[in-house]
């Protein structure tokens, strides 16, 4: 199964949903419209000839300064033909919502939770979008490029008096 066949089939089936197609080093990646993500993924999963039955990977990217700012990258794999396809969906900063793939692939559950936890991209239709890596009471999404790193001043001999005076040492 080659990339050109999949590409032609997708173009024929969803001419309006595909915003861009690129092929680099033999990897096919398709940028989709946000509204059509579920339809395209459902079609890919249930395709009679080349079923993409395995969601390999789902993650998010923060392109700070670009509009739209966020991007969700999904890698699907067909275990029968060992063929991969990469789907990309963008979301603007003021409306970071992307449809959830958990109803289609249960393995997307944790990966979407992680993407939401670290980047703040909301997956509509996810059964329980809770924090998975950060503590439950954490405020903010730390892998956003504009999130403060939260570093503390390093104590050396010349400034340790000032730093240790403010540092919350444990008392027993």
């Amino acid at each position: 199964m080659d990339n050109q066949t999949i590409r032609d089939r997708l173009q024929a089936q969803f001419p309006q949903a595909i915003l861009a197609v690129s092929e680099r080093f033999g990897d096919l990646s398709v940028t989709l419209r946000r509204e059509d993500l579920l339809a395209v993924v459902t079609w890919l999963r249930d395709h009679p000839e080349v079923p993409y039955d395995f969601l390999e990977h789902l993650s998010g990217v923060d392109y700070l300064g670009r509009t739209p700012r966020f991007e969700v990258v999904i890698h699907l794999m067909s275990l029968r033909y060992l063929h991969r396809i990469c789907l990309k969906v963008t979301a603007p900063e003021d409306d970071p919502h992307v449809p959830s793939l958990t109803p289609l692939y249960p393995t997307a559950n944790y990966q979407e939770r992680e993407t939401w936890d670290l980047l703040g991209i909301v997956f509509d239709g996810h059964p329980s979008l809770q924090r998975i890596l950060m503590p439950d009471d954490w405020i903010g999404h730390p892998q956003r490029k504009d999130h403060p790193l939260g570093e503390e001043e390093v104590a050396f001999t010349f400034n340790q008096e000032r730093i240790y005076a403010q540092k919350p040492f444990a008392k027993e």
Binding site: G150, E151, E152, V154, P168, A170, K171
Partner: protein, 180 residues
């Protein structure tokens, strides 16, 4: 006075209670079985036959905090892990000691960011800091020997001694005009 002093051949040893208690505590320490990062590999190496920490009375780690009295924090403590470490410390039976093993446990190390506690002394009182990234097993054993010395100086009243601080910087100010 001491264990070396024997009164004739009666088999009677005169010493102080403080000395005997501290001696017993020193030579039967039970470390808590947990590791947080790569330092734990070196900690396991220190207990392996190559380095053999059991020479100093530490045969095995105890997996239950209620049977342990030494906590070796081996690795960086994330903010999510911090309540767990504190809870383990609270469950340990008195008297108990803490060794911060490695740079990350001592001061955050290379992870100076939002996710890592900048020094485990923010959540548990640390007795000995071992530097290194990660410290070699010899360094860990040296830290534990240092802790043994500290335990031997403990008073029977239970009052812990104050930490030792450097009075002057290790590296003296270099005269720039003189040495360029």
């Amino acid at each position: 006075m001491g264990l070396e002093t024997k009164a004739g051949d009666l088999g009677v040893v005169t010493t102080s209670l403080e000395y005997v208690v501290n001696w017993g505590r020193t030579n039967a320490m039970w470390p808590l079985l947990f590791g947080l990062a790569c330092c734990a590999i070196e900690m396991m190496g220190a207990q392996s036959p190559n380095y053999d920490m059991s020479r100093f009375g530490m045969e095995i780690n105890r997996a239950s905090p209620r049977q342990a009295d030494l906590m070796i924090v081996a690795g960086r403590v994330s903010r999510k892990m911090a309540p767990v470490v504190r809870r383990l410390y609270d469950q340990m039976s008195e008297p108990k000691w803490v060794v911060a093993m490695g740079d990350c446990a001592s001061c955050g190390g290379i992870f100076n960011n939002y996710a890592i506690v900048q020094g485990v002394d923010e959540i548990v009182p640390v007795d000995v800091y071992v530097a290194g990234c990660p410290p070699r097993p010899e360094a860990l054993i040296d830290g534990i020997m240092m802790l043994h010395e500290k335990v031997k100086r403990e008073k029977i009243s239970g009052i812990k001694e104050q930490p030792l601080r450097l009075e002057q910087p290790l590296i003296q100010q270099v005269d720039v005009k003189k040495y360029g």
